[in-house]
């Protein structure tokens, strides 16, 4: 609505009030009828306005990239606080492996990794938030599964951490294997694959257990730490991260069994393929950069490299960036601001962090891991 329309509307409303307050002449039926016509018009306008806005929401769900560019920032669904993956530090800056992916996407679009607004989401709220458009991308250690892909209207464009579910117990219980947990109380977070795997595992091994489910990871771990449960279960990475928050971290051990496959990755809404491509290729750029030896420090020198693979990745040859709606130097932006996958991993969860998680399955395929960058070609 432009200014003129607003002012006419206001003027008309003002007139209406004046008439309503002022009319003393009872013979002016025509005037009154005119009054009602005005009201009816207003009602119809409201009805159409609401209808239009409902339909408009439907249409705008298509082009996430445009809406992100228009807003000037990316809204990123993040964890409410998981060390190494997504957590605000003392200054309120978000850090972590999942956060780095959001920063990388923002860098690819805006050449500025800080143009991200983080929305902390509990596990049980995360998919609704993504479906309803509250967040543009969900980067929150979420497991990719078939039902989430096909029934929730989501797509998982990439897997940025291969994980599996494990258990943590107190050392003094004297338990050394998950198979000894028959009869235990187990704390878990609601609305997760963890909750389902737990039921499967105990059923498959013919063991009994008592589940105590909480809405957020914070409440879950607090209850375990307070002694409500014998064991705490989540993805192995989460176990190491949460253990740091325990009142006495050394009193707890992680059991050796990994009972499930948890491919964790970012999720986007189904149907906006361009947006899915951007998220996928941001992750792939970080993987390819690691494989080709392009780092945060040397990315500018690498632009002059003769290696055709590096040239294509960094946009000095071909127009790959433009095909997904970005600039051709998108990968340079990502690497310059965030670094390659290996750098992000080491800084957030690897040797450079308090978690000290080994690369393991998350090493590059060339080093025996599962992380495999699809070629830029």
């Amino acid at each position: 609505m432009d200014f003129d329309a607003v002012s006419t509307e206001a003027a008309r409303n003002g007139l209406t009030e004046a008439r309503l307050g002022g009319i003393q002449d009872p013979s002016s039926h025509v005037e009154l009828l005119g009054e009602h016509t005005n009201m009816k018009k207003a009602l119809v306008t409201i009805a159409f306005g609401l209808t239009a806005s409902l339909f408009a929401t439907a249409a705008s769900a298509q082009a996430t990239l445009n809406s992100v560019k228009q807003k000037g920032f990316l809204t990123c669904g993040s964890n409410t606080g998981l060390a190494g993956f997504g957590q605000p530090d003392a200054q309120g800056n978000w850090t972590g492996l999942d956060v780095d992916l959001c920063r990388a996407i923002a860098a690819a679009i805006f050449d500025d990794p800080t143009k991200v607004r983080y929305i902390p989401l509990a596990a049980k709220d995360r998919f609704t938030a993504l479906q309803s458009g509250e967040v543009d991308v969900l980067s929150r250690n979420s497991t990719a599964t078939m039902s989430r892909d096909t029934q929730l209207g989501l797509d998982f464009p990439a897997i940025n951490y291969f994980d599996g579910q494990g258990f943590m117990v107190r050392k003094k219980l004297g338990v050394s294997s998950a198979k000894e947990l028959n009869g235990a109380s187990i704390c878990t977070q609601q609305g997760t694959t963890t909750e389902l795997n737990l039921a499967d595992y105990f059923r498959a091994n013919n063991m009994k257990y008592e589940v105590v489910a909480f809405a957020t990871s914070d409440e879950t771990f607090k209850a375990y730490d307070a002694g409500r449960c014998d064991a705490f279960t989540t993805d192995a990475s989460g176990l190491y991260a949460e253990r740091l928050r325990a009142s006495a971290p050394d009193d707890h051990i992680v059991l050796p069994e990994i009972i499930s496959k948890e491919p964790l990755g970012p999720a986007v809404r189904h149907g906006d393929n361009q947006w899915g491509d951007i998220v996928r290729w941001t992750h792939m750029a970080m993987l390819n950069a690691e494989e080709l030896g392009v780092t945060k420090a040397n990315v500018d020198q690498m632009k002059t490299s003769d290696n055709p693979e590096i040239k294509r990745l960094l946009g000095t040859e071909g127009k790959f960036g433009e095909t997904v709606g970005l600039t051709n130097d998108w990968a340079v932006r990502v690497i310059k601001h965030v670094g390659n996958y290996g750098e992000s991993f080491e800084k957030n969860v690897g040797e450079g962090s308090r978690l000290k998680i080994k690369r393991g399955q998350n090493a590059l395929w060339t080093k025996g891991g599962l992380q495999y960058g699809i070629p830029v070609r």
Binding site: L20, I23, Q24, P26, S27, H29, L32, H36, K40, L43, A47, L50, L54, F55, T57, A58, A61, K124, F127, T128, Q131, S147, R148, T150, Q151, L152, G153, L173, E180, L181, N182, G183, A184, S185, Q190, G191, T192, E195, L196, L198, A199, D200, R203, Y209, E210, V211, V212, A213, F214, A215, E219, K222, A223, A226, G227, R228, D230, R269, H270, G271
Partner: protein, 403 residues
């Protein structure tokens, strides 16, 4: 607006064109408004369906028949991850909400009346303690109180291996309260029959005693007879049966297991914390309702009863409270509804109520937010309306009969 209407009605000629009849026009605009609202809802619904389909999000209520695949800590019906459906999970959640609400309403009424009457006590100490209770409890948010009960009070309980043994098969630890579980033998029917006979007998005795008193003024030992019929008689029967080697009830005692006590009955700490929080919080409000109701009964009533020679306890029970109930019932109903709705705060402390199980786990595992939220809202609306209807019937019975 008013001035226009009065002006019109005063000077309009009695018969004019149909179109100018303010009543007809009023109805017309009402109909238009209702139609517009219905249209709006229709558009929103069809649009939502269209959006869901475009985004490939599953819709419909078919998911209720799918296997749930997760477990729940407190289930009043048989529930297992393998065989039960999301529909069963819904029923488990609903029953958990109903049981905590029903037990909560019972205890909070009792506590609320006690505190409300205590606030009016002539004993300075009792009145002040009741006042402090009300002011503290109703001015701290319920969520904070629940977390207090759950984390501060129950968190301080010992670990299972150092369970507090309280005798008679009762144990207390951080996993809850454990007690002996009664196992019924086939001849339990005898005991039940005796109990039912005792209840029926005491009912008739009370009726007879009342008529007797109305006619002759003679009082009968109603309480003693009732207690004998309802408690002493069944217990005697039980003892006799046990002596003849046909004990109708045996108890399964909790035993120490690897991690925790096994067997027996277990009351979860989540349930206890939620119940304590709801009961103490709502009782503070009910106390004020009761106090207001009692103060609304004119002082003359008390004085009149006193001059008839009734002792203070009987004045309260027979004269003041029955009249106060007329003022108490409507706001009391609101408090019952509040307690029921507040039970959804269970989600913060892991008690598997309807919101926790259905709007938490089920919603997330199926992703069908609209259906799940609509069902949940419908359930709370139904529970509240039923409670209101019941209380309205009761209110009509105690309301003043106007002649």
């Amino acid at each position: 607006m008013n001035s226009v209407q009065t002006a019109v009605s005063q000077t309009s000629p009695p018969k004019k064109s149909f179109l100018y009849d303010p009543k007809v026009r009023g109805i017309f605009y009402q109909v238009v408004l209702v139609a517009a609202v219905i249209f709006l809802f229709y558009v929103a619904a069809t649009n939502a369906i269209e959006n869901l389909q475009r985004a490939r999000i599953a819709s419909g209520f078919g998911f209720l028949n799918n296997t749930a695949g997760f477990d729940i800590s407190q289930t009043l019906i048989q529930f297992s991850a393998a065989g039960s459906t999301y529909g069963d999970a819904f029923i488990v959640g609903l029953l958990n909400t109903l049981i905590v609400s029903a037990i909560g309403i019972f205890f909070t009424t009792f506590l609320g009346f006690l505190v409300g009457i205590a606030r009016l006590s002539k004993n300075w100490m009792v009145a002040k303690v009741a006042m402090v209770y009300v002011e503290v409890l109703r001015n701290v948010p319920l969520l904070v109180q629940l977390l207090f009960w759950y984390i501060a009070v129950l968190g301080a309980l010992p670990q299972p291996r150092n369970s507090l043994e309280m005798g008679a098969g009762f144990y207390l630890n951080s996993r809850g309260l454990f007690m002996a579980k009664p196992l019924w033998a086939p001849n339990i029917g005898v005991l039940v029959t005796v109990l039912v006979l005792g209840l029926v007998g005491s009912f008739f005795y009370r009726r007879w005693a009342r008529i007797q008193q109305e006619q002759t003024g003679r009082q009968s030992p109603v309480i003693k007879v009732t207690l004998t019929l309802v408690f002493v008689l069944p217990i005697l029967t039980w003892i006799v049966l046990a002596l003849f080697g046909a004990n109708p009830i045996s108890f399964e005692m909790p035993r120490k297991g690897t991690f925790n006590l096994t067997g027996g009955m277990q009351i979860l700490p989540e349930f206890v914390a939620l119940l304590l929080g709801l009961v103490t919080y709502t009782a503070a409000f009910i106390a004020e309702v009761v106090r207001a109701g009692i103060l609304a009964v004119s002082k003359g009533q008390t004085e009149a009863a006193g001059s008839l020679g009734l002792p203070p306890g009987k004045i309260l029970r027979l004269v003041v409270i029955p009249q106060a109930m007329r003022v108490i019932i409507p706001p009391l109903t609101s408090q019952y509804l509040n307690l029921t709705k507040n039970s959804s705060l269970a989600v913060a402390i892991g008690y598997p109520d309807l919101v926790q199980v259905f709007m938490g786990t089920v919603l997330n595992q199926t992703g069908q937010a609209i259906e799940v939220v609509v069902i949940t809202m419908g359930v709370y609306l139904t529970i509240s309306l039923l409670t209101s209807a019941f209380m309205n019937v009761y209110n009509r019975r105690v309301a003043i009969v106007e002649r």
